[in-house]
């Protein structure tokens, strides 16, 4: 345990907590991820705390806490860089640690919605600037000089007139006793030297040497291993079981069933559950539990229709979970029938009905996409140790602050008796925003009165729910006799939610516009998947626009730029979500960087797409060729506008990854059902993109501006699908409307 000194009480902190994340850390329960010893520094036993994010020793060792869960978006590096920038220290000497879960001290601590850098940008700059100011005040007092005469550089304070200088560490004790100042002037972003320049992943050396970083790696004395034996199909539940053979297997401690939520439990928005009656096997080791679970003799039965009360961000609603064993064919059929019925109008501009009636040409196309599994490389797992009066849970979760109230309710413990420690996540993509694995682990621990690690096998992880919904959308465009686009209509639906973002491009650029949505219930549990809804919309809308441009005889980039010009100069309707200039900006940048229209690129089948989501703008040009008779994306040019880029090389990595992910899901991704059973249950059946299918080159360009940062994890992903679809048209000579484009196993040979 570290010894942290501070003169402040928690009460005092709370008074000054207008500075988001300011405050004190009385104790630090460490995962001990970045001990100073790793950097060859003797472990100091005395830390002084300056705001909740920063600790300094008298020897000038500086530690910064990353507040937000890390799932590969590199916040462990980029968020501390923001603090270090304003604090003015030597980045190479900083120790970075994952912060504890404490939403009062460390802000929202939520990874999702491409929000990490966006929401922490200002609080972290303020924290760094405030701490620097406290150190300068302490120095000014010690030297008896005006604070205005002091300067800092790389962890040192200087008083030029007297020639005095000292380390931050030498003033840390005094500074820790000062009030946290508010309203300190922040640096000019143009002068940044740490942020906006590429820094290596602070956990890199641990990753390449196999150190325990992930939830699955976490160990605890006396820890048991648990697995849940779930129904083989959606729409089924546990009827009865015989565990006699299982209990005879070596290493097995217990088999029991328990309820995830009590009857009438009001679910929070991220409390998604797939199966409420859990059949649990507990034992000594993972392999023994895997084996013993196979020996269970279980009777399953079909469910009846149920209603669940969900009190999420959108308010309280009752959700119907229908009975039945769903199959992909019947899902498609149900959706096709529903699509013919009237839908809810989400936005209407002008008089689209008349415009379509009077059109010289109407183009109508229908797009579909299947359920997807997240397939994080680290299957779901969580550690829990619940006793009568407290709970410790450790693992990989995107939003500890969302799961805490749920744990409090189901365990009957006050929130301050629940400690959540965040490990690195082996991927998230939305899956780990949901709390069921945490809650399940906690309930199992409570039941067996022992520390336990709940482990999902790959099959459990892939088939147990929280999938990207199944979507469809029909797009219509009306052209007049002069081939002008006069009306645009989208009607989209899905199981169990529609995908439509009604106020996004091309809304605002067409006089007559109609967006509609419909929804059908399903018992397949769904959840957020990298760029929810956008990940379907961008594919459908951006390949539809390509077809419209062709019908109009226009270059696809030119058509978009013309529409955006209209959207800027004379926007149609209200509530247009996007900035037409920034949207056009990424198109212009990708046009230039890809050499769009240049003869030397003629050998490629080129597809372009652009999209706006999570407050950022993305455009891609995809260059496709045939390799071994199959379409292959050889090169990609990407243009991004996410405002200021904190860590450019890491940001480039993320965009490259999103492009690869997009190509893979566009070509191959899909989870089918047969009588409620997921057809794909491991990587031998669920096709994922592999290295030989990845492009040779992905060139990423960022629009250079000084706008506060917006999202980056999600925005580059959705338009990849559209660009791939458009390049595929050039390659194969026909349009592809059903995702995945090149996986006949999923798509019933419709595209093959």
């Amino acid at each position: 345990m570290e010894n942290t000194k501070t003169n402040y009480s928690r009460r005092a902190f709370l008074r000054s907590s207008a500075l988001a994340g300011g405050g004190l850390m009385i104790s630090f329960s460490a995962l001990a991820k970045f001990s100073p010893a790793d950097k060859g520094i003797d472990v100091p036993d005395q830390w002084y705390e300056l705001t909740g994010y920063i600790k300094i020793t008298p020897d000038n060792i500086i530690k910064i806490y990353n507040p937000n869960p890390e799932f590969g978006q590199n916040v462990m590096t980029s968020l501390p860089m923001i603090v270090a920038e304003e604090l003015d220290i030597d980045w190479s000497k900083v120790i970075v640690e994952m912060g504890p879960h404490d939403n009062v001290k460390l802000g929202p601590q939520f990874t999702g919605g491409s929000n990490s850098v966006r929401m922490y940008w200002k609080p972290l700059r303020e924290a760094g600037a405030a701490a620097r100011n406290m150190l300068m005040q302490a120095a000014a007092q010690s030297w008896n000089v005006p604070v205005e005469e002091l300067t800092t550089k790389a962890g040192m304070i200087y008083h030029e007139k007297s020639g005095k200088s000292g380390t931050y560490g030498s003033f840390a004790s005094k500074a820790a006793g000062l009030a946290i100042p508010k309203g300190i002037k922040l640096k000019d972003v143009k002068t940044f030297t740490i942020a906006r320049s590429s820094k290596k992943n602070v956990e890199g050396s641990k990753i390449v040497s196999g150190k325990p970083l992930f939830g699955l790696d976490y160990k605890h004395e006396g820890m048991q291993i648990a697995m849940i034996h779930h129904p083989p199909a959606f729409g089924m539940k546990l009827k009865s079981f015989d565990a006699s053979e299982t209990l005879k297997m070596p290493g097995i401690k217990d088999v029991f069933n328990l309820k995830l939520y009590d009857d009438g439990y009001e679910q929070a928005g991220f409390d998604t559950r797939t199966f409420n009656d859990l059949l649990v096997v507990v034992g000594r080791s993972t392999w023994e539990v895997i084996n013993a679970r196979r020996k269970l003799i279980v009777q399953w039965e079909t469910i009846s229709e149920t209603k669940e009360t969900v009190n999420g961000f959108g308010g309280k609603q009752v959700v119907t979970i229908p009975a039945g064993l769903e199959s992909t064919e019947t899902q498609i059929q149900k959706m096709q029938e529903r699509a013919k019925e009237p839908a809810k109008v989400l936005r209407k501009d002008g008089d689209p009905e008349t415009a379509f009636k009077n059109a010289a040409l109407v183009i109508e196309r229908t797009y579909t996409a299947p359920f997807l599994a997240h397939n994080c490389m680290e299957p779901l797992n969580f550690f829990a140790h619940v006793t009568d009066d407290k709970a410790l849970v450790v693992g990989n979760h995107q939003a500890p602050g969302w799961i805490e109230p749920t744990l409090s309710k189901v365990l009957g413990l006050p929130p301050d008796k629940i400690e959540i420690q965040m490990t690195r996540m082996g991927g998230g993509f939305g899956q780990r925003a949901y709390g069921h694995a945490v809650t399940e682990a906690a309930l199992i621990s409570k039941k067996i009165k022992a520390p336990v690690k709940l482990i999902y096998t790959r099959e459990d992880d892939m088939t147990y729910g929280i999938h990207r919904p199944m979507y469809t959308a029909t797009y219509r465009a009306a052209l007049d006799a002069n081939k002008n686009l006069v009306a645009f209509h989208v009607k989209g639906g899905g199981l169990p939610e529609h995908p439509i973002h009604a106020n996004r491009f091309p809304a605002g650029t067409v006089d007559n516009y109609l967006a509609e949505g419909w929804e059908l219930p399903t018992n397949i549990t769904i959840g957020a998947f990298r760029a929810p809804r956008s990940n379907f919309n961008a594919a459908a809308e951006q390949s539809f626009l390509d077809e419209v441009a062709e019908a109009m005889g226009k270059d696809p980039i030119d058509l978009r730029l013309e529409l955006l010009k209209r959207g800027k100069e004379n926007p149609v309707g209200k509530n247009n979500e996007y900035d037409a200039d920034r949207y056009a900006g990424v198109l212009k940048l990708v046009k230039e960087k890809s050499g769009w229209g240049k003869p030397e690129n003629k050998k490629y089948n080129r597809g372009v797409a652009a999209y706006f989501c999570h407050n950022s703008y993305a455009a891609h040009v995809v260059d496709m060729v045939k390799k071994d008779g199959q379409p292959y994306v050889e090169r990609v040019f990407s243009a991004m506008d996410c405002g200021i880029v904190v860590n450019p090389d890491a940001a480039t990595n993320m965009v490259q990854g999103a492009v690869v992910d997009g190509i893979g899901n566009a070509f191959y991704g899909g989870l089918m059902h047969k009588d409620g059973v997921p057809v794909q249950n491991n990587f031998n059946r669920y096709r994922m993109i592999r290295i030989h299918e990845a492009p040779k080159k992905i060139e990423v360009h960022f629009v250079q501006n000084d706008i506060d940062p917006t999202g980056l994890g999600e925005p580059p992903f959705p338009p990849v699908f559209g660009a791939v679809a458009n390049a595929l048209y050039k390659t194969e000579g026909k349009r592809f409307y059903q995702q995945p484009f090149k996986n006949p196993q999923v798509n019933n040979n419709r595209n093959a």
């Binding site: 390449v208 196999g210 325990p212 993972t286 392999w287 990854g657 990845a694």
Partner: protein
């Protein structure tokens, strides 16, 4: 009791000989750098070296490792200084990082057999390792950089 030689150390473990090496490494010996990803030899997160050859430890019975030399990511180098580890850091390959120890272990066999691998060689050798984050381009770059480092000694 089964006797194993892992990373030049001897371990005596009391496990069913049918147990996959992966779970012996992770659960019994506490070497957790070798990852569980699929359990069916499809993702490569669990690759270790058995007498220098890459094997999927998730489908390799521990009995098969008896009398053999097992090397895991923890034993790939003394000081985290294998050319691949250096190159992985230089290129900053990882996103979530979960698959990377398996990637490196697969790449290590390639690099031993082929001092100057082309993209095509790399694609062929690494096609058994999944990366959900999509870091494949950087994996190629890092392997080529490691080959450079190896050549220059």
């Amino acid at each position: 009791m089964i006797t194993l030689n892992i990373n030049k150390k001897t371990y005596n473990v009391d496990v069913d000989p049918e147990t996959p090496l992966l779970w012996v490494l992770r659960d019994v010996i506490n070497l957790v750098g070798t990852k569980y990803g699929c359990g069916v030899a499809q993702c490569g997160a669990c690759v270790v070296h058995l007498n220098g050859e890459a094997v999927r430890s998730c489908v390799t019975k521990v009995s098969r490792a008896v009398g053999q030399k097992v090397v895991t990511i923890e034993g790939l180098s003394e000081n985290n200084d294998h050319p691949l580890q250096k190159a992985w850091l230089e290129v900053d390959v990882a996103q979530c990082g979960y698959c990377q120890s398996g990637q490196i272990m697969s790449a290590a066999v390639l690099l031993r057999e082929n001092k100057n691998p082309t993209d095509k060689d790399i694609d062929a050798a690494m096609a058994g390792n999944l990366c959900r984050c999509g870091t494949y381009l950087r994996i190629r770059d890092a392997i080529k950089l490691a080959a450079d480092i190896q050549r220059k000694g």
